[in-house]
């Protein structure tokens, strides 16, 4: 079976399944072989259920009524899958078997998706580097000496290495968008609350979003239509194209202290957008001075509140890293937490005010390319910061505001790593955001090559995702 299929989009595979060129069972076998071949390098999976996948795929009759009919997928090991352990990437829950599916797993399966297994992650989603003492660190498919990013590290690695067609993750500060960006993929964080988090281990209820990692924006759109809770009205027409759109470029913060090649790539994207008929406009954003503090002040008490149920009896099983964060959560005062949530409300209102003037916001996805594995700090523009802070610097604000945001590749760095941009839309305009990103994807000449993986030759691939 041709490895090329492992890098096909949902759209392309659906065509092939419909036309009988390939069967779902063949896809499962292809991914099973690749998972085995790349398991040490990718560290993408914590557990697999290939027997059930083969059974589901083998019994499948193709139906055009199912948006994901026969498509193999994976999910971060925070999502409950009935009969499978939901470990959170931690020894704390290594024996906890889910009794029911998470709501989104039910929806994926009802749409014909074939579940393959659970993806590796930063323990309990606490961290953007994706490092995991228990299961190993996921390597970036473009450069195995670098991180895939996190916390949905395994989800990004699985899609990036061609081990599944799409993967689900969670995004609390950028944990879907950032690893997708670092691995040359598309990462969607929807409007807060639009995709159910029922049956997903929480990290921070105020900031958690279920998100998707796919090869293309069209695929993200397909998954969103399957997973979303309710339809949403859209001020931008569903068939909106670039012509006539006003895209805001933040005047401060989002283009500061960043790799110059990343800024150049996003600048080229802006040129393209203008040439395609969009209007670009500089916009003032709320002050970002305290945003990291506000986010942390909400995150850690909420995380502690959830994990309190396990601390008494299994506290010693947590990693030192996560325990330190929970201890910090214990020491934050109630009024400080409430105040932080009030600041989040001001961020939402102030960002909504920006969206009265523009239809979308455009930023780089990350200020730096994927850091080296083991790097504690990243230095950009002469300023050093912790690696995890750098990875999520441009994404975490929109977890607080809850606006839908998508990251997508827009170029290649001279080191051979992908560069990505981020588009942000109004609340509940996820569909329009996806339509616009898909439009950009169909038109722009910013395709990036797939990763060069050992033993895999894909000479026919001319761009990511095979369309």
């Amino acid at each position: 079976m041709n490895d090329e299929l492992a890098f096909c989009s949902i759209s392309r595979l659906t065509q092939k399944l419909r036309d009988g060129e390939v069967s779902s069972l063949q896809l499962v076998e292809l991914f099973a072989q690749r998972i085995e071949r790349f398991k040490i390098q990718s560290n993408a999976f914590i557990s697999l259920d290939l027997e059930a996948a083969r059974e589901a795929a083998g019994d499948l009759e193709y139906s055009a009524d199912q948006a994901l009919c026969g498509i193999p997928y994976a999910c971060k090991d925070l999502f409950d899958v009935q009969g499978q352990v939901t470990s959170g990437g931690s020894r704390v829950l290594e024996n906890e078997v889910a009794e029911t599916n998470a709501t989104v797993i039910d929806r994926m399966n009802a749409a014909g998706g074939i579940y393959l297994g659970k993806n590796n992650l930063h323990e309990f989603a606490y961290g953007a580097t994706g490092e995991n003492i228990l299961h190993g660190t996921c390597q970036n498919p473009y450069d195995p000496s670098r991180l895939a990013g996190g916390s949905s590290s395994g989800s990004a690695a699985a899609v990036g290495y061609g081990l599944c067609t799409a993967a689900l993750g969670t995004d609390t500060g950028g944990s879907v968008r950032a690893p997708a960006a670092l691995c040359g993929l598309v990462g969607l964080k929807p409007t807060y609350g639009r995709i159910s988090t029922e049956g997903v281990i929480p990290y921070s209820w105020t900031l958690d979003h279920v998100g998707t990692i796919t090869r293309t924006a069209v695929d993200a759109s397909i998954l969103f239509s399957v997973l979303k809770d309710a339809p949403g009205p859209s001020k931008i027409s569903r068939s909106a194209r670039l012509e006539g759109l006003t895209i805001g470029i933040p005047e401060t913060f989002f283009f500061e202290q960043a790799d110059t090649e990343i800024l150049d790539s996003v600048d080229q994207l802006m040129t393209f957008l203008t040439a395609s008929g969009a209007k670009l406009r500089k916009v003032p954003m709320p002050s970002m001075e305290f945003t990291r503090t506000v986010s942390l002040t909400v995150q850690m008490p909420e995380a502690l509140s959830y994990h309190n149920r396990y601390l008494e009896t299994r506290g010693e099983l947590y990693s030192q890293d996560f325990r330190a964060g929970l201890a910090l959560g214990q020491c934050i005062l109630a009024e400080q937490y409430v105040r932080a949530k009030r600041f989040i409300e001001t961020y939402r209102r102030d960002t909504d005010a920006v969206f009265k003037e523009v239809d979308l916001l455009l930023t780089p996805a990350t200020p730096a390319i994927a850091p080296k594995i083991g790097a504690v700090e990243v230095t950009t523009d002469g300023v050093s910061e912790p690696a995890g802070n750098a990875i999520t610097r441009y994404t975490s604000f929109f977890n607080m505001t809850g606006h839908p945001a998508i990251t997508f590749p827009c170029g290649m760095h001279s080191t051979g790593l992908p560069i990505a941009a981020q588009l942000v839309g109004r609340h509940y305009e996820d569909e329009a955001l996806l339509d616009i990103t898909s439009d950009i994807e169909s038109r722009m000449d910013f395709r990036i090559p797939p990763p060069l993986l050992p033993g895999v030759t894909t000479p026919s691939l001319s761009g990511r995702g095979q369309g």
Partner: protein
């Protein structure tokens, strides 16, 4: 605001219905050496600045309601 003292956090741990963190973990919050948590003092300094910003009657953020259907 005075500098955070370990005894303060030990008192919170022992007297305010929280989990029994190890002494070393409390020490790490006050005087980070392991590089796991950086700057709890910095966080508190920032929280003190935030405390002095008037938020009027702004409520805490909650769910995001869908806007009314557009025509």
């Amino acid at each position: 605001m005075k500098k955070l003292q370990k005894d303060t956090l030990l008192g919170m741990r022992d007297q305010l219905a929280g989990y029994a963190w190890e002494d070393e973990e409390i020490s790490e919050l006050v005087d980070p050496k392991l590089g796991i948590i950086t700057g709890f003092q910095d966080l508190l300094d920032q929280l003190d600045e935030l405390r002095q910003i008037d938020l009027g009657s702004t409520p805490p953020a909650s769910h995001i309601s869908p806007p009314p259907e557009s025509d």
